[in-house]
């Protein structure tokens, strides 16, 4: 009776949850929540992956790889999440990570992320080369609703049914033979009273179950409001015949009223802005707008960008070390032909309008850059698989096949952007991984006491201006750690710098389930 109704409701709830789980934007970056970091912990090279939880408070998983030179060894690896507002003094002591595999230098552990916001995960390696610590910024945000699986639904419905019927039976006994003194037999009147009590109890119990379900529903709704959403922005283009200006304005009231911390330059830029033309994803631009005021980003658009509808992604890092991607869409009008210049970069801004692209078919794929050099993506020979950690390895050679030395581009050997063709994944990567340099910097200032819990940098403009890039040696090859979060067709734009020019290579990749 009422229970079939309850089952239907449970089922409906489960299916709504499942749909909601699919529809959600899953990260401070878009659709790519896992954090990859390649760097140093003291004298050790470390390769760290953090898989944040879908809900906060929740458990993140961390794996740490420490490839050590011969003769050296690692005694233990300690992992410790540090919350922005409390710093190390307000964080529990770290946990010793477990060695995952005797043959591989890999350690694993769990991180308890109890508050939403910006965390830094301290990875301390202790061994024959002494102890060293790396800190990896991780954004803890609620990202999705968990569906109630079918087996669990069945178990809960059956046990619930058992409890309701059991309670009704207990009520019957309590109102009838439970009141009959030993030695006497139950009279028909007493038995009737028991049945009547059970008949009244059933709808009351059903009502209680319904109340519980409503309560559950309201909790689920309240939870949904806590799901992460990037700051709201409005984007528009002002144009004349000869120039176009793109403006992004933050509309989020929390940000405008100062409840969200201000924005910090990352690689010396307040925003890394990416434009990708729909629907073919054939035009790409990486620009760096200025901020005429605290809520507005503005940049002149390259004259060579053809007209069309563009997806806009703006990567920013807050003073609390929290990084996120703002998203919008704009339509670019045509410019007068005389105003169009043909160069593909200007200063640190660079774009690619040529349709040319390489498709990765293992083991390699090459694409010719605008200066005639060859950018080659080499793979380990295996096809790309969703969820598998891999190293995206590239090198640059001249027409004779000789390595070509690269200059640092915004402090990095290269920048790459990975995007799924439906836009559900978008992330800005470097050889050091997914983490932003600015977030690393913010946490080190925080530990020294140079910022407040609210994230205001007390050193003022000097600290803002001197955010250094990572010192790096010149190289012709680089590798980027990453795992494609889901199967599908992806686009990769890889950018390197030679002399004054920034060169962009485009690749297609299919990722298997």
């Amino acid at each position: 009776m009422t229970w079939s109704g309850a089952t239907r409701m449970l089922k409906r709830l489960a299916s709504t949850i499942a749909v909601a789980a699919l529809a959600v934007v899953a990260s401070a970056h878009v659709g790519s929540p896992n954090v990859f970091f390649v760097g140093k912990a003291g004298a050790y090279d470390v390769d760290v992956v953090v898989r944040p939880p879908q809900v906060v408070p929740g458990l993140a998983e961390i794996t740490v790889r420490v490839p050590v030179a011969q003769g050296a060894s690692v005694r233990r690896v300690i992992v410790r999440p540090v919350f922005w507002q409390t710093g190390t003094r307000g964080s529990p002591t770290g946990d010793v990570a477990k060695r995952l595999d005797a043959a591989e230098p890999t350690w694993g552990g769990k991180l308890w992320l109890m508050a939403g916001g910006s965390y830094s995960v301290y990875v301390t390696v202790d061994g024959t080369l002494g102890a060293g610590t790396a800190s990896i910024p991780v954004a803890a945000v609620a990202m999705a609703r968990l569906p109630l699986g079918r087996p669990l639904t069945i178990v809960l419905v059956l046990l619930g049914l058992f409890l309701v019927v059991g309670m009704a039976s207990i009520v019957r006994a309590a109102a009838s033979d439970g009141l009959v003194p030993p030695g006497q037999t139950e009279s028909p009147a007493t038995a009737r009273r028991g049945r009547l009590a059970a008949t009244i109890a059933l709808p009351v119990l059903a009502l209680a179950v319904l109340g519980g379900w409503k309560w559950w529903d309201s909790t689920a709704r309240a939870y949904e409001r806590t799901l992460y959403k990037p700051l709201g922005v409005k984007a528009w283009v002002n144009n004349s015949d000869t120039a176009r200006t793109l403006t992004l304005s933050i509309t989020d009231s929390g940000y405008l009223s100062g409840r969200v911390t201000r924005i910090l330059p990352d690689h010396g830029k307040l925003m890394h802005l990416f434009l990708v033309r729909e629907p073919e994803l054939d035009v790409f631009a990486h620009l760096h707008p200025s901020m005429p005021d605290e809520n507005t980003f503005q940049t002149a658009l390259p004259t060579s960008l053809p007209a069309g509808t563009y997806r806009v992604y703006g990567d920013i890092v807050h003073e609390s070390g929290f990084g996120q991607t703002l998203t919008a869409k704009v339509t670019l009008p045509e410019l007068a032909a005389s105003a169009v210049k043909t160069e593909e970069s200007s200063g640190d801004d660079a774009w690619s309008i040529r349709g040319e692209r390489g498709a990765l078919v293992p083991p390699r794929s090459s694409v010719r850059l605008s200066d005639g050099t060859l950018l080659t993506w080499t793979s380990d020979g295996n096809p790309l698989v969703s969820g598998r950690e891999t190293s995206l390895a590239f090198d640059v050679t001249d027409s004779a096949g000789k390595p070509v030395m690269l200059d640092p581009y915004l402090g990095m050997a290269a920048h790459a952007v990975v995007m799924r063709d439906d836009g559900s994944v978008f992330i800005h990567l470097h050889p050091m991984g997914t983490v932003s340099n600015a977030a690393l910097q913010a946490f080190s200032l925080r530990e020294r006491g140079d910022t407040t819990a609210k994230g205001r940098l007390v050193l003022g403009d000097t600290a803002r201006a001197t955010m250094p890039g990572m010192a790096m040696a010149q190289t012709s090859a680089f590798a980027i750690p990453y795992a494609f979060p889901k199967p599908g067709h992806y686009k990769l734009w890889v950018q390197v710098k030679r002399g004054d020019h920034i060169l962009t290579g485009t690749f297609d990749a299919d990722v298997a389930p």
Binding site: V55, M114, L146, L156, L179, G183, T219
Partner: protein
């Protein structure tokens, strides 16, 4: 050799005498077993709350959780054994003391206990999913926790009803005043554990910082009269609600003294308040005050009043509860905020969790601003509403108490 044996003989004789004395006090072992399970339920949940306040990290295997599982296990084994034995190998007397459920026979209290352990079992996967879906909360009041609480409360109620059936029949122990006394003690203890369960469920509304706002009295007026009035009426014992309230306070005070003896540090961040020892829940509410008032009123009005008269007496019980509770708890809340309570005896300085901010109202011994009524008039109206709630709660308690006083099996 022989001398050793001779020396041991008197001990053996004494042991034998003790055993036969125990047999003379014919309280069946399973009443003790479910009383122990009820105790473990209470100890487990208070320990678990302290664990969440201090250490924070939760897993299936925390000692507090094991304590709770042990109670469910004791209930399962005891009631399962009693039901199987009564159904298939019970004496005529045992069968007469039981009720039939789905073809099996066992005392009513045992069935309530069994239901409780199944409710606890059901809440486990539900709660696990809940934590995965909405976060590793430290919330006491959520749907799966409510199911768990219903299960735990059922175990305690089952123990109480089982004990009462023995008390109400009176026939088996008619000639054994010592056993009757022991039965009263068991009843008072189980009743205290029941009050404790109700008190734990409303913890989030009864922190000392709330105790000068009418909301606290309204919540208390819903939760406590039902159980105090029912206990007062259910037993043929004098001062039954009072003894039960004392047992509740005793359990909570004992836990408040014992837990902070153990060193512990927080294993979860953010830590705003570094911990050195296990935290304790607050000093218990002074329910002894309203319990005395209710017992007095109950004796004055007679325990056997008709259901019709209960409608008239319920508001009297409601009023008595609110007035007596206000009179004792209001000044006591001031005391708990004062430096006089910051010691091992009243443990007001041991109620802080790792994630409380040292500058917070709670940690600076101040009343919560949000709990204050906007005006004296609003407070008066709030308290009148509390009397209405308490009257409804008391009416339910009267009916429940009437039933408990009649239960035979």
């Amino acid at each position: 050799m022989s001398t050793t044996l001779e020396r041991l003989l008197p001990i053996r004789r004494r042991l034998a005498t003790a055993r036969s004395a125990e047999r003379a006090v014919a309280i069946p072992w399973y009443l003790y077993a479910v009383a122990i399970a009820s105790t473990l339920v209470n100890v487990g949940i208070i320990w678990d709350i302290s664990w969440h306040m201090t250490i924070g990290r939760d897993s299936f295997w925390t000692p507090a959780h094991l304590c709770t599982y042990l109670s469910a296990l004791i209930v399962g084994v005891t009631c399962g054994y009693v039901a199987l034995r009564t159904t298939f190998a019970g004496t005529a007397q045992e069968r007469e003391r039981s009720v039939s459920l789905w073809g099996f026979r066992a005392p009513l209290g045992a069935w309530i206990c069994v239901w409780g352990s199944f409710a606890m079992l059901t809440s486990a996967p539900f709660d696990n999913w809940w934590h995965d879906a909405y976060g590793l909360d430290v919330q006491i009041i959520s749907p799966p926790h409510t199911l768990l609480a219903l299960g735990m409360i059922s175990i305690v109620i089952g123990a109480l009803v089982w004990t009462l059936a023995w008390q109400n029949r009176g026939t088996e122990l008619a000639n054994d005043p010592e056993a009757r006394h022991r039965l009263h003690q068991l009843f008072a203890f189980a009743a205290g554990l029941l009050i404790s369960m109700f008190a734990i469920y409303v913890t989030e509304y009864s922190y000392r910082g709330y105790q000068h706002g009418s909301q606290f009295y309204r919540v208390s007026a819903m939760a406590f009269p039902v159980v105090l009035v029912a206990l007062s009426r259910a037993s043929n014992m004098r001062w039954s609600a009072t003894w039960a309230a004392l047992c509740y306070m005793g359990v909570r005070i004992a836990m408040g003294w014992i837990l902070p003896l153990f060193p512990a540090t927080a294993k979860l961040g953010p830590i705003f308040n570094p911990m050195t020892h296990m935290a304790a829940m607050e000093f218990p509410l002074l329910l002894i005050g309203p319990a005395i008032a209710i017992d007095l009123l109950s004796r004055r009005l007679g325990k056997d009043a008709s259901p019709g008269r209960d409608w008239i007496t319920a508001p009297l019980f409601g009023l008595a509860f609110v007035v007596a509770f206000l009179v004792v708890q209001w000044p006591f809340a001031d005391f708990l905020h004062s430096p006089l309570a910051r010691n091992w005896f009243f443990f007001s300085d041991r109620n802080f969790t790792y994630n409380m901010r040292p500058q917070s109202l709670y940690m600076t011994y101040k009343y919560f601003i949000r709990s204050a009524d906007p005006s004296a008039g609003a407070f008066a109206i709030g308290m009148l509403v509390a009397v209405v709630y308490a009257s409804i709660s008391a009416r339910v308690g009267l009916a429940w108490g009437r039933w408990m006083s009649k239960v035979q099996r």
